[in-house]
């Protein structure tokens, strides 16, 4: 009996940890080394991508793992961006403190809204989150005394070491990697699995003795927090914040990234966000119609890869091996990890 269990544990370890290293480690090395050799404009782009990745992954915590389809994720992104910007510029709070305050307020905002929305589901959830984010947008847009309305807040530049784009990029990379690791950890904790269980079957989880809404609220707050981290990163990356960061198009960005990459896997939104950013920025250099191409790509993914790109690749793998097995959270995760 003992040996039987031990064998299973070893197998679990092999499946879950080792294959990720094969994909993630080279990627990290590239992300660390590459900026030394590319023009500063590309460093900016890379920075924009990794911030978008964090934003998308934080949304996927809700969508993919919590089954809560939110269309208002910009609310927390912008709350953090503005909090950081205002504290830093108008109240002369030091950079680390201002940077830390952003996500905290985003989490608070998520907690306030979360109390109400976790009771709902499906379309109601989607509409309420959208409404809340538009509310935040309206406040930012119209409260001129505080937020400078349409003018936005400019001049967000860190003095010293982080003032150089490449150094800020490395700072972003560290923050994003730590955040993704934390999110990954949360998703593979007892809480993470319980959250997925709630997504699959709330009544069953309740019958096991859980207050389902509390768990959903916690997930909502965690997602809000990490959206806030992305927002704060963005504020200093961009040097200024304007009401657009709270507009619904900003919510659509991670939403599309999650859909394109694949809702059923951890790395789906990573790929999706990168792709979305590259299409958005690179193609707009060669054509005016980059949005058209974004639309076509999304449509194509929806039609031909309904589980997203990573989800579909994973499915192919499973198909080839002729079995379906899930050691971890989803088949998609295993698939990519063994790719």
């Amino acid at each position: 009996m003992e040996s039987f269990s031990v064998i299973r544990f070893r197998r679990l370890k092999e499946i879950v940890l080792y294959p990720y290293a094969k994909v993630v480690a080279p990627l990290l090395i590239v992300l660390i080394v590459l900026p030394q050799f590319i023009p500063v404009i590309y460093i900016f782009q890379l920075d924009a991508i990794i911030i978008a990745v964090l934003f998308a992954v934080s949304l996927n915590l809700l969508m993919g793992y919590g089954g809560m389809i939110s269309f208002g994720h910009a609310a927390y992104y912008s709350l953090a961006a503005y909090t950081t910007a205002l504290l830093f510029n108008h109240h002369f709070v030091s950079f680390p403190l201002a940077f830390a305050a952003g996500p905290a307020l985003a989490a608070l905002g998520a907690a306030v809204l979360g109390v109400f929305v976790v009771r709902t589901g499906g379309h109601y959830f989607l509409m309420l989150t959208l409404a809340f984010s538009q509310l935040i947008f309206a406040v930012i847009y119209q409260w001129y005394e505080l937020t400078k309305g349409d003018d936005g807040i400019a001049g967000l530049f860190v003095q010293g070491l982080l003032g150089k784009p490449i150094n800020y990029y490395y700072f972003s990379l560290i923050v994003v990697v730590i955040s993704l690791t934390l999110i990954y950890g949360v998703l593979h904790s007892a809480f993470g699995y319980t959250l997925q269980a709630i997504r699959d079957n709330p009544a069953r989880v309740e019958a096991l003795g859980v207050r389902v809404n509390r768990y959903k609220l916690l997930a909502f707050v965690i997602a809000g927090y990490f959206a806030g981290v992305a927002g704060s990163l963005f504020a200093f990356f961009n040097g200024q914040v304007s009401p657009e960061v709270a507009y619904w198009t900003q919510s659509a960005e991670p939403f599309m990234s999650v859909i394109i990459g694949g809702i059923n896997s951890f790395f789906g939104p990573v790929l999706g966000a990168a792709l979305y950013q590259v299409i958005g920025t690179q193609l707009s250099r060669v054509t005016q119609h980059s949005l058209l191409i974004t639309g076509v790509v999304t449509l194509a993914v929806g039609l031909f890869f309904p589980r997203g790109i990573v989800g579909s690749i994973a499915e192919l793998h499973i198909f080839e091996r002729g079995e379906r097995r899930s050691d971890d959270n989803t088949t998609a995760d295993t698939g990519i990890s063994e790719g």
Partner: protein, 249 residues
């Protein structure tokens, strides 16, 4: 001789859905260790009664006592913590998680660690989960996504999940519904063995009188929300009225 303390007691429990009485003044006594079957035609109120006991629905009137403690006003999670576990009529599992994770989640919740944010493997919990799955005969399917298992196997996973919370009273809503004939008797044997080993009180509803006769020692016939007859399986089979409404004679 003193009669043992009842583990579950229903006193004049009623529930109406928009004017239709689904359950009407039902009285039941379950003593510890009893195997109790509810039978009755579709729509007789069996599942409604289960939902009332486990808190998915609120009673309109009446009292439900579990271990002499009123529970009719409690939410499902509280009732579960007191020691009543149930399965659902439509097998109710987490289709996108592996069999092992299905049970592990239930164990974590039962230990009050469901909200733990630490991504750790708990060898003890994993071993318990594997043991539970071995109990129901699924130790070869630990890593399979449960959604891809057969219907009968899904029912077994659900049973393992239910047992993870170490209940005193096990409520099974049609445990053999939709299960193939051969798998059915395996299921009956399994339930029999588990109840004996874990000294559970069992309450189930079932259409197959053969299954009921094999598993249970006390039967109540429910018809239009009220108890029509109660007795041992043999008694019930004798009753004229029961034959008329249920056995289709």
């Amino acid at each position: 001789m003193t009669t043992p303390q009842p583990i579950l007691e229903l006193a004049r429990v009623s529930k109406a859905f928009g004017g239709v009485l689904a359950v009407s003044e039902v009285n039941l006594h379950l003593r510890r260790g009893l195997r109790y079957a509810l039978v009755g035609p579709n729509g007789a109120g069996k599942s409604t009664l289960f939902n009332l006991i486990t808190g998915q629905l609120r009673c309109d009137a009446g009292k439900i006592l579990f271990k002499a403690q009123p529970i009719q006003h409690l939410t499902p999670d509280r009732i579960c913590k007191l020691g009543i576990a149930r399965t659902f009529q439509i097998s109710s599992i987490f289709p996108r998680l592996s069999a092992l994770k299905n049970v592990e989640v239930a164990l974590a919740i039962h230990q009050g660690k469901g909200a733990s944010l630490m991504p750790k493997n708990y060898p003890y919990r994993q071993r318990r989960a594997i043991d539970l799955l071995r109990d129901v005969g699924l130790h070869n399917q630990l890593f399979r996504t449960v959604g891809t298992l057969s219907h009968g196997e899904q029912k077994l996973v659900e049973l393992a999940v239910t047992l993870a919370i170490e209940p005193a009273l096990l409520i099974l809503d049609e445990p053999t519904a939709g299960v193939g004939v051969r798998e059915r008797w395996g299921m009956v044997e399994l339930i029999d063995r588990i109840c004996r080993e874990k000294e559970l009180t069992l309450m189930l509803c079932e259409h197959d009188m053969g299954v009921v006769a094999e598993l249970c020692d006390w039967v109540a016939v429910l018809h239009r929300g009220s108890v029509l007859a109660e007795g041992t399986v043999d008694d019930i089979k004798q009753e004229e009225e029961v034959r008329r409404v249920y056995l289709g004679d």
